[in-house]
Symmetry: C2
Subunit: 127 residues, 2 copies
Amino acid sequence: MRIGELAAATGTTTKTLRFYDAAGLVHPSTRSGAGYRDYDTHAIDRVRFILRGRTVGLTLAQIREILDLRDTGAAPCDHVQRTLDQQLTALEQQIAELTALRETINSLRRRNVESSTCQPETICRYL
Amino acid sequence: MRIGELAAATGTTTKTLRFYDAAGLVHPSTRSGAGYRDYDTHAIDRVRFILRGRTVGLTLAQIREILDLRDTGAAPCDHVQRTLDQQLTALEQQIAELTALRETINSLRRRNVESSTCQPETICRYL
DNA sequence: CTGGACCTTCCCCTGCAGGGGAAGGTCAAC
DNA sequence: GTTGACCTTCCCCTGCAGGGGAAGGTCCAG
């Protein structure tokens, strides 16, 4: 299968697939005489796995770890569990930070300032 | 006041201040004969304003809009209100997305898979 | 008059995940 | 045999907010 077919089959782009090749995530199984990448059908699952990982917010480095582990012949499920747990922790923290930021802005916003009394010198009382 | 003093007074770096100068956020009021940036004391308030804006998650572009408005002589409070409201909306959306992502990962994580039954071919049942 | 601290511009680098486009090779159909 | 779709590598660009460091100029104290 050539790169364009794989891109079509997985709903991504040839640019992305070349990038994944360079990043060591999905290599073509062979190259044609003219140097064209030739992928086997497993590549479809592999790309889809990467895309699923991306949609749950994993970085390519994290996905690569999983794939590398799998490529040793091991079932990477335990590692995936740990990665997902890390991701949950990171998400909790991001959510907490954004929520705190929201409260900060809300309280700024509630400081019922009379716009008419704003002085340009102070730049803005709201901030 | 030279750039190093301003950096010390505002707790930032000369690199950042030069960047803000180039970005049109805080210009020195004059340049010395040797080309040194010379800031007046208003610059301190201005830099602090930028830093406050940054801590509530505004981009430099948003902050610049506010400062540009202020520089026309207008009190930018109404614009700041709108900017903060936009920021709240953006935050709400980010929080919602992250929360949804968390739930997705949680449900993946709860799929009580027996690791021992994982097949390398499927890459990983968890994802 | 010299040393060290400070300043200048200039250019590249960071992280992350690719995108844009050029210059050139290849393949299949007509 | 040529047209058009596809492929290759190569290099730079994106957004965001600066950071690193080089090469050179300046200012002030001792």
